[in-house]
Symmetry: C2
Subunit: 409 residues, 2 copies
């Protein structure tokens, strides 16, 4: 308890001072729930964490030593809001290979991809502005945009991502400001939007002159088949592309980026000036050093090999240990799959029992903006646990599901 | 120019999608102008940069190596929004010495102090919300809060900081949400609010039940006399205290903090979840290591010795080289002083000539929220230039001022 040593007037009624948006802000259900699942004996499929044993620690140490000997005055000083120029050049050159014709001035470095979502909210969302998203959808985007008092309209998602066939009707009725889409290895669903659906999405966005926000944190982590053309290549004039090093390098450094038409990047730069001046110079230069030396590429290949095996272990364990009426997505990459359990079971209600049985997941309901779906679904992360624990954890969950089904008979 | 390779519909009219607040956001005049002054031959008193030759580079390198050997999985992983717990404990213990009775749970680590200003805007400011500040005032605060469509009411500042004697009248008339105050070594004015004025400010804030935002980036950089009791010690129940490592350690790491009553810290934590999830884990742990090993304390003492000398050099050079009718503040610490030139001279109009003469400053007008003052004033930074350059730069400015006065005769 805070001691108000010198306070004759007593505590302040802070509620009285809150902005309208602050009154509506909720704490992230997931971040709160992760605290529960961090007990060491719990096998957690709940978080979205990369495998820490794979962090390229030695290479990062080398980068630190190199930068602090070679350019300490630059690495530790204030820098420009736009981001470290060599890193922006590297990113522009990288995406050029995928056919994205953006230069360094089309790129803004952000403090993780979450800040990109926040700045987009700041620049586009007034109270009541409508955002179109598939559901389930990424919780961090909901949280960022709810803080600007956005409304959400949703269309369903099937095993091939957003059901874009329903876009036109929804747009006509709800008039959204932009379409939010996670085309590769969706969080939480693990689905990938096929090329024909991307093309349809672009066609509709053009017809109704809408912006597209393409969030692609996992794109580089593909475990099978070929890359699919990014939406920002199909419609560079209206797409903001969001990338991050959190999944390919390390999340602790907080480096993301937004790529898009220069006139809107400049608006986002202004918003970032007020938000945090610039992203950590040192972290940007570490990431740049790792990327420029070609280490990132090698590292991503290694991540793919390990994560592919973990995904396969989880898929096989689900097949072996889960009751017959369950189903799940088969992600081609990324960190997550989405599992549906037999109908009478409510995954949010099951959660405390799961933690008691030393296994954790995120209940599907948390990924629905208005908590009106996903009651018999859950998100399972496969990147953060070793194969033997994945096997054991899925077995534990299978046992729990069997017991529940037995009770409801 | 961006090539719209696949864009049959042509460029998008982005203006159409902008939020109300984005339409009002301006680029920071100072950040734009700093680009001009970064030519190597210009002696720049314009920025607010610490002296890069004093960065504790070797100590930071040691911290990196230690952390990456001892705790790499923690240092590079996602962490909690509230901030690295040992760092929050260190900060709580540090402020306890100054009489501030806040624990770690009263502290939120932010991505630089600028993010603290942004989160305060997010949590308190609705369109039209009024903020009370002295003028001139810190430009970054104006920029952060203007992004939430705040209005500003101002009271003057004299050689002892905010003229708090005028507070009550202004509050009665304008009903602000909070009072923004930079009590120590004000940016841009270099003034320090004496204890009697702090007490009066607290008395008035209590009488009208207002919040106080106490921004203290320079407090540790005191070159003479004793510390004055922080406002957050006098009124812990209603004060949000903002601190940063940008001036005492290095700005490139982007570590700041907000301290205050727990209920409002929790609201700010929610806002930060949506804004960037958390501040760089690695940067927080580096700062914590430097602080915990006692290096920061030694380093700050060294900074004070060097910056004191630079301040004294500037004060003496002003005395020697500037025309008789000019005046300036005598800062007891910090990075800046505020100089007033004889009346007919407009410092904004003089600026291009100064850059031509290879010396730069920031014109006073930029520190007035509505650009309606400071026309014959300028901010001069003394931390970023070595004494011989300070002497030379002030001499150049003196010559320019003499020439201007000669012309207007």
């Amino acid at each position: 308890m805070t001691v108000y040593a010198n306070s004759p007037t007593g505590p302040v009624d802070w509620e009285r001072f809150l902005s309208q948006r602050a009154q509506k802000m909720k704490s992230s259900a997931i971040r709160e729930l992760l605290k529960v699942t961090q007990q060491p004996e719990v096998i957690s499929f709940a978080g979205g964490l990369p495998a820490p044993e794979l962090f390229p620690v030695r290479e990062i140490e080398e980068a630190c030593n190199y930068l602090l000997r070679k350019e300490p005055k630059r690495a530790l000083q204030y820098s420009t809001t736009e981001g470290h120029p060599p890193l922006r050049e590297f990113l522009a050159a990288t995406v050029a290979k995928y056919g994205i014709q953006h230069g360094p001035d089309n790129i803004l470095i952000t403090t993780g991809s979450q800040q990109a979502l926040d700045l987009i909210g700041k620049v586009f969302i007034d109270p009541g502005t409508t955002i179109l998203t598939a559901e389930p959808t990424y919780l961090g985007a909901i949280q960022a945009w709810r803080a600007y008092e956005a409304e959400f309209v949703t269309i369903p998602l099937d095993d091939h991502g957003m059901c874009v066939e329903q876009l036109e009707e929804t747009i006509k009725e709800k008039k959204p400001c932009f379409i939010y889409v996670l085309p590769n290895f969706h969080n939480p669903a693990g689905t990938t939007l096929p090329e024909y659906r991307r093309k349809h999405l672009v066609k509709i966005a053009r017809k109704y002159d809408l912006i597209i926000v393409e969030d692609d944190p996992y794109g580089a982590l593909r475990y099978e088949d070929d890359d699919i053309t990014p939406i920002s290549v199909m419609a560079p004039e209206r797409t903001l592309y969001l990338g991050t090093f959190s999944k390919t390098l390390t999340p602790g450094l907080r480096i993301g980026w937004i790529m898009g038409p220069m006139e809107i990047i400049q608006r986002l730069v202004r918003a970032k000036q007020g938000a945090d001046l610039h992203t950590s110079t040192f972290d940007q230069m570490i990431a740049n050093d790792i990327a420029q030396r070609g280490i990132l590429k090698v590292h991503v290949r290694r991540l793919c090999n390990v994560y592919r095996q973990r995904r396969d272990t989880m898929l096989k364990a689900l097949e072996t240990h889960w009751p017959e009426d369950s189903s799940w997505t088969h992600p081609q990459g990324g960190l997550f799959l989405w599992a549906r359990v037999p109908e009478p079971i409510d995954t949010a209600q099951l959660f405390p029992k799961a933690v008691e049985a030393k296994v954790a997941y995120v209940a599907g309901v948390h990924f629905f903006p208005y908590a009106d779906g996903g009651h018999n679904a859950m998100r399972l992360n496969f990147s953060n646990s070793k194969p033997e624990l994945i096997e054991l954890g899925i077995q534990r969950l299978g046992g729990l599901l069997d017991a529940e089904l037995e009770q409801t008979k």
